[in-house]
């Protein structure tokens, strides 16, 4: 690890000021990606701004017809929260399957979505459930928040404050995970929401994406049969030592069918 200055502000304003004062500043949430990167010396920030003491980023609360989750809430708390397990069990289940106990007890919702790793689970939850991201500057629909591989609509210094998830009528998330990292090789969230059926895929492409053909088919008939013959193009999908693009395309169909089977 290289040397860096460390700050632990108490408010959002102080955090943004500390970030903007540094030449190459980095926010630290749960540190499950940043700390290993620093240890490997693959990043050399001049200042690390720890978000752990900011009260505005904490807490889970029931909202009108949904749940709001603070950016600093760890995955284990999302998985265990009684109100989430009751209202959006698919979200609690998704959080319970992220990484390992260390990652689930340190890693945070805000950190995960701001990093937007193409294989992370939360992007499928936000886009699949039609969530809204509340930042230090504005409110963004999940569809607008995730813009590309490791890229989001967040401006430099802008912070995720909380995410509100509307409760779906029914939803399920199924992933085919890498057995070592537990990252999603392919993960699919299928949800019937007040705005219609949504199908969101993570792990398969450079960024989370929806499958309009499956959404339209499921809106007509919510059954496995409705989506069995929808082809998934592999052209833009990821390929790596774990899975080819063609295999990922196949897995998208299988994971979507399993998700539908859980709630049809």
């Amino acid at each position: 690890m290289y040397a860096f200055a460390y700050q632990r502000p108490n408010t959002l304003k102080e955090a943004e000021a500390a970030f903007n004062a540094g030449e190459d500043a980095s926010y630290l949430a749960g540190g499950q990606t940043l700390i290993p990167t620093l240890k490997q010396r693959l990043r050399q920030p001049s200042v690390v701004v720890d978000l752990g003491a900011i009260a505005a980023l904490k807490g889970i609360a029931a909202t009108n017809g949904g749940i709001s989750v603070g950016a600093a809430v760890c995955h284990a708390d999302v998985a265990a929260a009684p109100e989430i397990r009751k209202l959006i069990p698919a979200l609690a289940r998704l959080a319970s399957q992220i990484g390992d106990p260390q990652v689930r007890n340190r890693g945070t919702l805000g950190g995960s979505i701001a990093n937007n790793d193409p294989a992370s689970d939360y992007p499928a939850a936000l886009v699949g459930l039609g969530a809204t991201v509340h930042t230090s500057a504005r409110d963004l629909a999940a569809d607008e928040f995730f813009t590309g591989m490791f890229e989001t609509a967040l401006a430099s210094g802008e912070l995720v404050v909380k995410v509100s998830f509307p409760a779906p009528r029914r939803a399920a998330y199924v992933k085919f995970r890498n057995p070592a990292s537990r990252y999603a090789i392919v993960g699919v969230m299928v949800a019937e929401t007040a705005q219609g059926v949504r199908v969101a895929v993570t792990g398969a492409g450079p960024c989370v994406f929806r499958i309009p053909e499956m959404e339209a088919a499921l809106a007509k008939t919510f059954s496995i049969g409705a989506i069995q013959n929808i082809p998934i193009a592999s052209g833009e999908l990821n390929a790596d030592i774990h899975a080819t693009a063609e295999y990922r395309a196949h897995l998208v169909g299988v994971m979507a069918e399993r998700a539908v089977a859980m709630i049809a």
């Binding site: 190459d24 990606t33 940043l34 990167t37 490997q40 010396r41 693959l42 990043r43 050399q44 990093n115 937007n116 790793d117 193409p118 294989a119 590309g148 591989m149 490791f150 990252y183 450079p206 990821n238 390929a239 790596d240 030592i241 774990h242």
Partner: protein
């Protein structure tokens, strides 16, 4: 398509093409203009022409949490004006490892202007290859797309559309 050459190195290959609304001569000029190359190479901090075919460049690659600065030499070969060339670069990124890659670039006339087609190979070694195995392919694809898209815009902008 990704393949592991050995435990410490990863390589990939890809092809693509862009259609640029400019004459072949204008696109060729852009491909040989270091100021345009600097603006087109994602994260290029500095670029200096050492000779007709050798260019020194510093590039900062930022992908997710990783930010690594590479310093290296870019060479142009198989020069066939105004039809194409081969551009190759090799850089060392200190503790992060090394990256090298090249592209065979071909220019052909089409109705809309010029078609630029490329055949890219890239490889990384060292720590980047060890920890980044699952992302090298998509990263290289993204950087190449960005480079050729920007180059196309710059070439079209400097020359105007073909009449």
């Amino acid at each position: 398509m990704l393949k592991a050459i050995d435990a410490g190195m990863l390589a990939m290959e890809m092809k693509g093409e862009h259609t640029i609304p400019a004459t072949r001569a204008a696109v060729w000029a852009a491909l040989n203009d270091v100021a345009i190359l600097k603006a087109a190479i994602p994260g290029c901090d500095s670029i200096e022409r050492l000779s007709e075919t050798e260019i020194e460049a510093t590039v900062t690659a930022k992908v997710g949490p990783v930010k690594a600065s590479f310093k290296g030499l870019v060479t142009l070969s198989d020069l066939d004006p105004p039809n194409g060339y081969t551009i190759r670069g090799e850089g060392k990124g200190g503790v992060a490892g090394f990256a090298k890659g090249g592209a065979k670039v071909r220019l052909t006339d089409v109705a809309e202007g010029t078609r630029l087609s490329y055949d890219v190979d890239a490889s990384v070694g060292g720590k980047l290859a060890q920890i980044g195995g699952r992302l090298i392919d998509s990263t290289a694809k993204k950087l190449a797309d960005e480079f050729f898209a920007r180059l196309g815009k710059l070439a079209a902008g400097s020359a105007g559309p073909e009449t």
